[in-house]
Amino acid sequence: MSNLFDLLVAGLATGAIYALVAVGFTLLWQTSQTINFAQGEFVMLPAFLMLAAMHAGAPFWLAIILGILLSMILLGLGFKLLLVDPMMRHGVLPLAIATMALAIGIKEAVKQFFSAEASPFPSIVPTGDVSILGHAVSLQSIGVLVVAILAVLGLTALLNRTSLGHQMQAAAQNPTVARIIGVPVERMILLTFLINAFLVALASLLITPIYLAKFSSGEVLGQAAFIAAIVGGFNQVRGAIAGGLLIGVLDNLAAAYVSTQYRAAVPMIFLIAVILLRPQGLLGRAEERTV
């Protein structure tokens, strides 16, 4: 039983990170119909930007700020202006393929300019345990969970409680009408790209101390988050959060109770089941499109 509790906590901590990345997937999809297959690499890169800042002599806190800012410039602004805008005119599929190419480009660039080897990365949460309901739970797991939950709550508050959030939602739901009533749609779309970049940088900061900084570490994350976004509902932020947590827990339970070799298969099987039985995702909204 204590084993199950540990697995749930560890699964929720990993799932919270998947959720951050999955939320980015849904945001980009809602506002600009972009499926970003480089999302995993977007999580990998900020850690290296922070490491580069530290190698240049910056203290950890400054490296975090610089890393997040640089990520927002490169992975938010740069990504939108240099890749999404020019490719969008050619349709969703060419754009999706372009993001796959971008994923390979980022990986190879990190390998080339940094190293193919893994590097250690400091943790923002100290190591140690606290006792919860008689179980020793690591501070790191709790820290990851708390930061991820705060980020998601902040985002939800921004979307639902502020005028800016309402404008973003309007731009996502019906850009034409939003434009007519005076919402600066283009600026709102750019804002979602910046938010996505912030979320992936945050995910990078949380996951890299555990997974280590390595050029290939985005592959697993990108895949898990993509599955989480589809399972939860690609067009709902709350769906992505639920999907992330669910996949995190499922992955850990599968590794413990099914087998380590098949741990990656279990979320996939779950994904197929969801697509067959509830294509819009667990919390998603059915969309109809004219072809």
């Binding site: 193919a116 080897e117 250690p120 020793a136 997974y211 697993v220």
Partner: protein
């Protein structure tokens, strides 16, 4: 007519001189990227350092050494293609790969070409198939695992042991050997956990170890995964003593795992912290050249080149066909060839006999606790 004869003689002389001065070509195929990048990079740097030293002192039998490096991407399929390409260029000796799985698929190619292959793999089965061209640079599992099991049983006094291994040729070989030995000695394996190469998340595996509550944990993974599981073991508060091999307490693991590596113990065939003067000198030279402390793979690459030198000098000529025969049964003494660092004997199967060490990580440093002598 005279002119023709003269020209012919001159040509023959020129050809002979160029053959004499021609460099001895070695081919290296290593894990320069992918999961084994730490292994391959250390191995490659060790080779380059040794070649630089040897060439600076006039080469081998008056000829310089030259090496080409190819990247196996830590993938046996790519390793096979790269080895085939390297063998097509007819090297004197093939160096690498470091991963047992890659060695397994490439060894038949080198054997067929009749080229000796000096590699870094440690899986027991590699030298048990009767391959007459394959040589180790470190202990095979059949030499190291009995020592490991004995230490867990006798010194750690563990009645129950959890065995965590990586699901590839290297991991399976080690797990089979250590499990057999532990059971023979009377220690019970209470958790037998297979993990995947490149695995990032070890929370579930550590959860299982915690549930099994063993007296000791034997960890047999590659370097990066070792670092990740050490961090996770610390995160989940597993306090059972940890025992492993070189891959658990290597320099790269200590760097990656930080504090979490403290207390881990391992049997090490080669370590740069060995209390041996020549090894200390190697460590200084390597650190000066590459700005980091090498792990055992750096030593292996370095030794591989000095094995080539010592064997060639023993033959007195550069003969790729006789190389393997000469190296079988050869004892190289560090007093005669300082580059070999410690006295070593090669068996007829290509296995090595050399002294080894029991190491513990204390405050981020490898500390040699015991020196285990050469078997024969």
């Amino acid at each position: 007519m005279k002119t023709t004869i003269l020209a012919g003689a001159l040509l023959a002389f020129a050809a002979a001189t160029s053959v004499h001065a021609q460099a001895i070509k070695l081919a290296d195929v290593a894990e320069l990227s992918g999961g084994g990048a730490t292994v391959g990079t250390n191995w490659k740097n060790g080779i380059d350092l040794a070649i630089e030293e040897i060439n600076a002192k006039g080469g081998v039998l008056g000829r310089k050494l030259e090496v080409t490096h190819a990247d196996s991407q830590s993938n046996p399929g790519v390793a096979r293609a790269q080895v085939q390409k390297a063998l097509d260029a007819e090297p004197y000796v093939l160096l690498g790969p470091g991963y047992s799985g890659s060695v397994k698929v490439t060894a038949p190619l080198a054997a067929e070409a009749g080229i000796a292959q000096i590699m870094g793999g440690e899986a027991a089965e590699l030298t048990q198939g009767g391959n007459k061209f394959l040589f180790r640079t470190s202990f095979g599992q059949q030499s190291s695992m009995p020592k490991v099991a004995k230490y867990i049983h006798d010194e750690m006094k563990a009645k129950t042991v959890a065995v965590v291994w990586v699901n590839n040729d290297f991991g399976r070989g080690g797990r089979d050997m250590v499990t057999k030995e532990l059971e023979r000695l009377g220690s019970k394996v209470v958790a037998d956990l297979s993990t995947e190469a490149g695995q990032a998340d070890f929370a579930a595996d550590v959860g299982k170890i915690k549930a099994a509550n063993p007296d000791a944990v034997f960890v047999y993974l590659n370097e990066e995964e070792s670092a990740r599981i050490l961090k996770e073991l610390k995160r989940q508060g597993v306090n059972a003593p940890l025992m492993g091999e070189t891959t658990l307490i290597g320099q790269k693991v200590i760097e990656l795992a930080g504090d979490a590596a403290n207390g881990a113990r391992g049997h090490v065939g080669l370590t740069t912290d060995a209390p041996v003067e020549l090894v200390k000198q190697f460590r200084e030279k390597f650190s000066k050249k590459y700005n980091y402390v090498p792990d055992h793979n750096g030593l292996k690459g370095y030794l591989a080149v000095y094995m080539v030198k010592a064997t060639t000098e023993k033959m007195g000529k550069v003969d790729p066909k006789k190389f393997a025969d000469t190296l079988h049964g050869l004892t190289i003494k560090a007093a005669d060839e300082p580059g070999i660092l410690m006295d070593v004997t090669f068996s007829d199967t290509g296995d090595i006999d050399r002294q080894s060490f029991l190491v513990e990580v204390v405050e981020g440093k490898q500390v040699v606790k015991q020196v285990l002598p050469k078997v024969q």
